[in-house]
Symmetry: C2
Subunit: 235 residues, 2 copies
């Protein structure tokens, strides 16, 4: 989380807490931003609206790339296949496996790099954090390092000099991110985490559980409206 901020960055923006905080953090350091969201056939598109809202607050471009055709290809994931139930409760390897879209981060990063190369941005930024590591192999430093190497190899001469792949929160917990977000003024109420598509956050799915805990641990007031007022899973 040190070093000079990029002049212009493409931020992969899900509308959630992590990527919204990456965007605010970069904007706070003076970067011009394009927020890039993906519609890959999610159960609901609520997160796209939240990403748009965050971009609006920041005066940043917001682009949505429709990859919904991928939904047809990626059978067996809870996020794209309506036949698979979204797991409740705490994140764990067993229950959250079904939320993994194969190769999702490689796909999103690849498209973000293309967008960056085309638009002259000198960085792609991504909101992975330490809590993602255990179940998402494509949220680890070793993965990002290799992906950065592939990007350099596959686009020789194309990216602007000093092109970077940024995962500034890779060493932080989600509670740390909430604290960073508080410092840079993220409007947490305009971020969306819940995997289900209700009016308000369900409060019991894996990401809701994780979100609640992050605010609690950080000691930051959680403005999120949850449909259940008491966490379903004891810690």
């Amino acid at each position: 989380m040190t070093g000079q901020a990029p002049h212009r960055a493409v931020v992969i923006a899900s509308g959630g807490l992590d990527s919204s905080t990456v965007a605010y953090w970069l904007a706070d350091r003076g970067s011009q931003l394009t927020l890039l969201s993906f519609d890959y056939g999610q159960r609901h598109r609520k997160e796209l609206h939240y990403a748009k809202r965050i971009a609006g607050h920041l005066g940043a471009d917001h682009k949505v790339v429709d990859l919904s055709d991928l939904g047809r290809l990626l059978a067996g994931s809870a996020l794209t296949d309506l036949g698979v139930q979204v797991p409740d409760g705490h994140y764990s390897e067993a229950s959250m496996r079904s939320t993994v879209v194969p190769n999702r981060n490689t796909i999103m990063l690849s498209v973000a790099v293309a967008a960056a190369v085309s638009s002259g941005a000198d960085a792609v930024a991504f909101g992975a954090h330490s809590g993602d590591h255990a179940i998402y192999p494509d949220c680890r430093t070793s993965f990002f390092d290799l992906f950065a190497a592939v990007t350099r190899e596959g686009n020789e001469g194309f990216p602007t000099e000093g092109f970077e792949l940024l995962a500034p929160f890779i060493g932080l917990t989600k509670a740390d991110i909430v604290e960073v977000g508080r410092q840079v003024g993220v409007p947490f109420e305009d971020t969306w985490s819940c995997y289900k598509g209700g009016e308000v956050h369900c409060g019991v799915c894996g990401t809701c559980t994780e979100r609640r805990e992050a605010f609690e641990v950080a000691g930051v007031v959680d403005p999120t409206v949850y449909s259940t007022s008491v966490p379903a899973v004891a810690r």
Copy 2:
């Protein structure tokens, strides 16, 4: 080009000479195939019809992934931007630069890996050859090696054991591929190379020039109908 053929492979299929020959070569060796084509906002979609035709001949699945939204993002390429003229003449670094879609192969390979992981295929196959190396950095062995490493890192535990990224023609010239194609019975007349979308191959764009030369050098009869009967560029 040695070793055991994969049980089931996803072949990235453009409808052209190279990828069609990869498909026939794998089918000849007993692999079950899915041909995967991309619609990323090309000037014309003729190549998709040819890919479908090849899949039909082989009795293989054919899937088209619509990535046409990328066209909006990737301004400045002759293949997606109607404001840029398709260069005629022989391939060379200068004239063909405008045909490069940034990061295209990384994007296509990433999606193909997702399709392979989802469908239980044990390989992704790609038709890059030695003639692509000079202008397309993402057609080189060093790129494929790194991409294979990223795939392993990003999908730990997901791909079937022994998952492979195959670029069997990476060491061959296009003339060599024509010879391989002859041996495995590729219906060359049902492949499409031309970057322009005419009724028949134009005969003068970069890929037409390359295609003509490949048949000549290989000493194989070229069944292609070109709109110009004499090559426009002397060799």
